[in-house]
């Protein structure tokens, strides 16, 4: 019973983080901040949800598979975020603050 409650708590908080990251994806001012928001969704929320599901299913084959998924996600999604940002930097996109500073300097 306690396991059930903990698992549901984990899943719910995972959902909360997922929603946060979705909001961030739309509301944040520039590309890099949005990648950051998406990163939350990929790592924290996915991890919480999967942990919750693992507790829910108990010690079975499904749990092991879920663990593999978690491992894969934690391994790949930071790398892919990294490469997306790298590509963006490479193609000349600059963070919002840098841009802002530049415009400020011009107006000064």
């Amino acid at each position: 019973m306690l396991v059930q409650i903990i698992s549901w708590l984990l899943i719910l908080s995972g959902i909360f983080f997922a929603v946060t990251s979705a909001v961030g994806l739309f509301r944040l001012p520039d590309f890099f901040a949005r990648v950051h928001a998406a990163g939350i969704g990929d790592t924290v929320s996915a991890a919480l949800i999967i942990l919750g599901l693992m507790l829910n299913s108990g010690f079975t084959l499904i749990s092991i598979k879920l663990f593999y998924i978690l491992f894969l996600l934690w391994f790949t999604s930071p790398i892919s975020s990294h490469s997306v940002v790298k590509a963006a930097r490479h193609s000349g996109l600059e963070p919002f603050l840098v841009e802002k500073e530049k415009t400020n300097r011009k107006t000064d």
């Binding site: 391994f75 790949t76 790398i79 790298k86």
Partner: protein, 331 residues
């Protein structure tokens, strides 16, 4: 969701976005396929539509440019044609058997044998694999030939990928130096797992979703990742295009050879029953060989096509204009 994505594709003019949206569309379709119980198909659609097709399309975009011009001609005629066709189809559905009704003729005639007898006749639990490789084995052979034909076509058009001679031509924009430590280490950790997974899918196709084709696509994706991170030149060193040409042909020959062996052993073409002492063992052996052939060919064909498209950026093609009177008497 699917409809919105499809409509967005029509409206968008950034080709990059169009291609990525198509990937999303494919993934959504794959999810829909899982809901509709077609796990094998979903697997393939995800691997092909959201995987290899996108890679090839993006490779093309590198050369063809990213933006589409605004459509110049009026869309009225196409719209008219499309509306008429759609209306005819919808009209036609009114006499169709209803969705998911077990009494549909589609589920009454041929399918029950596949569902209820295939375990006894072929001996493997995944019905899709038994139908694919045995009952309708010739379709799969045809499918393999289609992939092979595409390879021949791409190579005829874009030239055969070759290793470059001089080492200086390695461009500074690719290769491990460019990718940085995070990507290189990440990729070198991932690639063995991808290959392992491909092998699992290849040999587990009898029991779960998967099979030669999916395995081939996954295998190919490992090499695409390698090429993206470590640069195409190193990839050529890892796996030589000539070797791939050989393996792509040998996969087809393995499939056809299985068929011929069954002819020699006094069965019909692709009749696996005669391959071994008992029909079931024969079916096992036959399906194993055939799936192996599919896997080998698909993997090497897709890698080769990827190489060709990537390499074609630098290649030049001579095209003679049509009206050349200067071509004098030959011989």
């Amino acid at each position: 969701m699917l409809a919105i994505t499809a409509l967005a594709v029509i409206r968008m003019r950034s080709l990059f976005a169009v291609v990525i949206l198509f990937g999303i569309y494919s993934l959504l379709t794959a999810v829909l396929f899982v809901v509709l119980d077609a796990v094998d198909v979903a697997f393939t659609e995800a691997a092909v539509g959201a995987g290899i097709s996108i890679v090839l399309m993006l490779g093309t975009l590198l050369i063809a440019g990213r933006r589409a011009d605004a459509d110049t001609h009026t869309p009225l005629l196409p719209l008219f044609i499309v509306v008429i066709t759609g209306a005819v189809l919808v009209w036609g559905t009114f006499d169709m058997p209803h969705f998911a009704d077990p009494q549909d003729p589609a589920h009454q005639h041929v399918a029950p044998r596949y569902i209820y007898d295939s375990l006894a006749e072929i001996g493997i639990p995944n019905m899709v694999t038994s139908v694919l490789a045995s009952y309708r084995g010739f379709d799969t052979f045809g499918e393999l030939i289609v992939v092979f034909t595409a390879l021949v076509g791409v190579m005829a058009l874009l030239g055969i990928p070759e290793r470059r001679q001089s080492r200086r031509q390695v461009s500074e924009k690719t290769g491990p130096e460019f990718s940085g430590p995070i990507l290189t280490i990440g990729a070198s950790w991932m690639i063995p797992f991808i290959v392992l997974f491909a092998l699992y899918v290849q040999f587990h196709g009898d029991f779960g979703p998967g099979g030669g084709f999916q395995a081939g696509v996954i295998f190919c994706s490992a090499f695409v990742l390698y090429a993206l991170i470590f640069g195409i030149e190193l990839t050529y060193k890892t796996v030589r295009p000539k070797l791939l040409i050989l393996t792509s042909a040998s996969g087809v020959l393995l499939y056809a050879g299985t068929g011929f062996v069954s002819i020699i052993l006094d069965g019909n073409f692709l009749d696996y029953n005669v391959l071994s002492n008992t029909p079931k063992a024969g079916q096992h052996l036959g399906i194993f060989l055939v799936e192996l052939g599919v896997g080998i060919t698909v993997a090497s064909v897709l890698i080769l096509i990827f190489f060709s498209i990537v390499q074609s950026r630098k290649r030049r093609y001579q095209m003679q204009p049509d009206n050349h009177l200067d071509s004098q008497v030959r011989e």
